[in-house]
Structure formats: structure tokens, C-alpha cells
């Protein structure tokens, strides 16, 4: 790939860096300056990526304000160019980026809120999956419960934070009542992201619940996962958690671990 490839890479460099085209790229426009045309492409490039970030991170944008978000997104675009023709995939590194962004360090919870927003964004577009066959599950003999392997829905994700990010997120939803009091008490929180009837939903998990679900998601059996949660908290309510996760569509499928 010779001349075409050279032209496209030169054009790419010009759009990304804001510098001019090389002499070999014979771009012309008869009715206005070439810079006018190049600026339209540069602005489209940055504008489309900014809009994608704004769409994926509405809570971050509200927390820091539109102007600062624009400043943040400009630096993000410089650091993380797009790698997919599907704009919904743009912005995955925002949490990490904010954590390293000097002027945002005063808001220590921002990276975790960003992680939660990205989890919600991915949950929205995640693949569909069937519902758990509760009747089939009821037919499993009790003696085999410990060997059950449970699978979670593709939209399901967990975010751990030292901050009450679920409260922060809820307070910035369009239907929030505006009564926003968040206590930064240093108690770790676990937030479950899932999707019910196509709507993304977040809910808080207790420490043992989060432990249980993390084991389940790693492929561990029901018995092993439950042991881990009970070791953490003897009062762990497996029955209640199962009902909630089945109702929320988090658990979608089960198999029996083959016993040797």
C-alpha cells in the first residue's frame, strides 16, 4: 500500500496534531483556504469524541461542570485516540485517566464514579441473554446444591470503592429528588450494575454479598462461594440474595459441576 496509505497517514497526522499537511498530499479547495477545510475535520474529530465521552459520563460532567469536562475531555482525547469505528467503545480508560489528572485530584471519588459510569455504559449495550430456568433449578436435588455453577448476565459488573459512589450516582440521575447528602465516611462500598427489562440498574451489595458474587463470577461453585461469604459474615443470607439476583436477571444460567 503506497501512495494511498501515505496520503491517509498524512491526513490523520494533520487532524490529530493540528499541524499542516505535507507537500506530497495534494489537497485543494478552490473556494476557501485549505485551513478552513482542515479545521472542519479537526473539529469533527474532537467534537465527535467529546460528545461520545459526554454521553458515556453524564454524572462526571455534572460533578465537574461542562467547562471543566470539556477541558478534561480535550486532554483525554490527546492521550487516548479512538481505536474503534463504533463510538460507543470510546472512553474505557476514563477512570484511570482521571486518577492521574493533576487538577482533578481534589475530588478523590471521581475515578470510582467514572468506573461505575463506564460499567453502566457497557451494561446498556451488553449482549442479551436468556433468563434463569427456575423450574429446572428447583428440580436439582438439595444434595447437589454445593456443586452448582451459576453464570451471570453479560451486563453484570461490580465496582468496589472507598466512597459511596452509588449514592453519588443516584443523586445525579434525571429523576433524582435533588436532596443530595453524601457522607464520605470511608466505609468501602460495593455496587452491582445489572440490566432489568433493558434498563440499567445499580444496587448496593454488602461485603459478604460482594464476596459471594465475585466468587460466583470467577466460576467457583455455589458451595465454595457460600463458604467464602459465610466465613466473612456468619449471618450471610444466601436465600435472600439468590431471590434478588434471579429477580434482577443477574443470574441467567446454571450447570452442575461434574463430580469426579
Amino acid at each position: 500500500m503506497s501512495r494511498l496509505h501515505d496520503t491517509l497517514s498524512d491526513f490523520t497526522y494533520c487532524i490529530i496534531t493540528g499541524l499542516g499537511l505535507s507537500d506530497e498530499t495534494t489537497a485543494v479547495c478552490p473556494n476557501y483556504r485549505i485551513e478552513t477545510a482542515l479545521d472542519i475535520y479537526r473539529n469533527n474529530y474532537r467534537g465527535n469524541l467529546h460528545d461520545a465521552l459526554s454521553h458515556a459520563y453524564p454524572v462526571i460532567e455534572q460533578l465537574v461542570g461542562k467547562d471543566y469536562f470539556r477541558y478534561l475531555s480535550r486532554h483525554y482525547v490527546d492521550r487516548h485516540p479512538s481505536v474503534s469505528g463504533n463510538l460507543h467503545q470510546y472512553g474505557a480508560e476514563m477512570a484511570e485517566f482521571i486518577a492521574g489528572f493533576e487538577s482533578a485530584k481534589g475530588l478523590a471519588y471521581l475515578p470510582d464514579v467514572a468506573e461505575l459510569e463506564w460499567a453502566c455504559h457497557c451494561a446498556y449495550f451488553a449482549e442479551d441473554a436468556g433468563k434463569l430456568d427456575v423450574m429446572a433449578l428447583a428440580k436439582i436435588p438439595q444434595a447437589q446444591y454445593a456443586d452448582l455453577i451459576l453464570n451471570t448476565h453479560p451486563s453484570c459488573q461490580m465496582v468496589r470503592s472507598d466512597y459511596p459512589i452509588a449514592s453519588i450516582w443516584n443523586a445525579h440521575q434525571p429523576d433524582a429528588d435533588g436532596d443530595f447528602h453524601v457522607t464520605l465516611d470511608g466505609i468501602p462500598s460495593h455496587t452491582l450494575v445489572s440490566r432489568k427489562d433493558h434498563a440499567v440498574k445499580i444496587s448496593a451489595l454488602s461485603e459478604p454479598e460482594a464476596t459471594w458474587l465475585a466468587w460466583i463470577r470467577s466460576g467457583a461453585s455455589l458451595g465454595k462461594s457460600t463458604d467464602a461469604a459465610v466465613n466473612q459474615c456468619a449471618a450471610f443470607d444466601l436465600h435472600g440474595l439468590l431471590l434478588k439476583l434471579i429477580d434482577d436477571g443477574v443470574l441467567i444460567h446454571f450447570t452442575l459441576r461434574s463430580t469426579p
Partner: protein, 280 residues
Amino acid sequence: MEKPATHSLPCAAGIGLRAPHYLEVLNERPHLGWVEVHSENFFGGGAPLNTLRQVRNHYPVSLHGVGMGLASTRALDQTHLSDLRRLCDMIQPAAVSEHLCWNASGGYVINDLLPFPYTEEALAHVVSRIDHVQERLDRQLLVENLSSYLSFSHSEMTEGEFMSELADRTGCGILLDVENLYVNTCNLGVDAKAFIASIPVDAVKEFHLAGYSERNGCLVDTHDHPVSTEVWRLYEYALLQIGPRPTLIEWDSDIPALGVLMGEAAEAQRRLEQHDVQAA
């Protein structure tokens, strides 16, 4: 060899269906010939796909891609292609289209529709990529002419000649965006009549109409205004030369009430029917 389209669009006016109108269209089911959506917005599952499935139950759907990068010089994104194929299998669209542009080079994707020089080298390259896409989708792809803000003096042919060759060598269809063509006549001095004369009439399967805006003497393809008088006039000329084809009203930014889009679609429909009367 032209691949058969499993279904085909009705020769009527349709609208580009965007998120602000999903609910209204599903609840009220207004009279629309067909709708077109951006393919990438429905990759994956969840609410977007569920909405599109419902829309598909009531209207013919055209899938219009903005991210394939037919002329990019790096390898076609196979995940993107698989996602599109899966969407086609689920939705059974009446048409699938992409733009004649590039969007990636080296490690970068520029999420835009970018122009390239129309050379023999580029032609061979794009032909092989369209072949690959049509093979993978197992259906005909419609390729849309681009609105462009610059051209390349080392181009060896016009965009119309380039598209004509594409249609001839790959069997792809042509989606003639009348507004893009108008924008190019103003910005780059493209001869719209020569363009229309240069493309094979039978390959043209769809028209697009939209509004543009102006920046520093350059018309920008912003899809944020009504169709202009000049574009309506060029559309009428295209109808005379090419004949009636499914026609879409596109509006992507500052999206107005659904009624405004339907009004524009009615204008296109009126011209389609007038043409039928004249032709009879």
C-alpha cells in the same frame, strides 16, 4: 455480480430514525414508508436492539453504517463486520449501506467520514474491500457518495466515475446523497449533472436528502437544517435522470419534532409521485 437484496425498500419517502423519536414512532406508528438507522447504534443488545426489533415489526428498516471505513488502508475490522452481520441476521434489513470514505490509519481511528484521492490504486483497494464485505454479509451493499471539504489534485477520476467502477466491478449499489453532491458542487466545483450522468442508473437504489450549514464559505454536511431549495431542485433533476427511488430525510443534529421530519418526507413523497405521473 449483483447479490440479491433479501428484501427491498419500498419506493417511497422514509426518515432517519434517531433516539428522540423512538418512543413516539413506536407508540403512534405514524405513516412512514420506511426508516433508516445508524447500524453501530444497535451493535450488542439491550434497549437499542429491543427498540429496533419493535420498529422492524412495523416498518421496513435500512441499516446505514458510519464506521466501516471502506477506503481505510488498515485491515477491515472483523469484529465490526461480525457485529453488522449479526445485526442483519436479526433485523433482516431492506437495505445495508456504508459511505465511500476512510476512517482509520495506523493505530488511529478518526470517527468521521473522510475523503481520499480517486486513483486506480484506491479503486482496486476499495473494490477488494467491498467484495469482502458483501461476501461476509451475503448481500448487496449500497455505497454512498461523500460530502467533502477538499479534494486531491492527484485524483485520476471523478467520484462519479469511481463509484461507477465500484458498481461495475463489485455489484454494489449506489446510494446517491443529493445533499452531499450539492455540497461538493459548491465547495469543490463538482459538476452535479456530469456526476449523475456518470453513474449507472440501474445501480442507484436509494436517495438521501438533508440540510447543511455554512462555515467560512464552506458548506458543511451537518444534517441540522431542512432540505434547501437548491437540494430539492437537484433531487428533481436526479428523479428525472435516474427515476424514482426510495428517498430518505436525514436529520442528525438539532433534531426537530417528528412532525417536521414527516413534513419533509411528505415533500419528497410528493415529488416521487409527481415523477410517476410524468413518467406514465
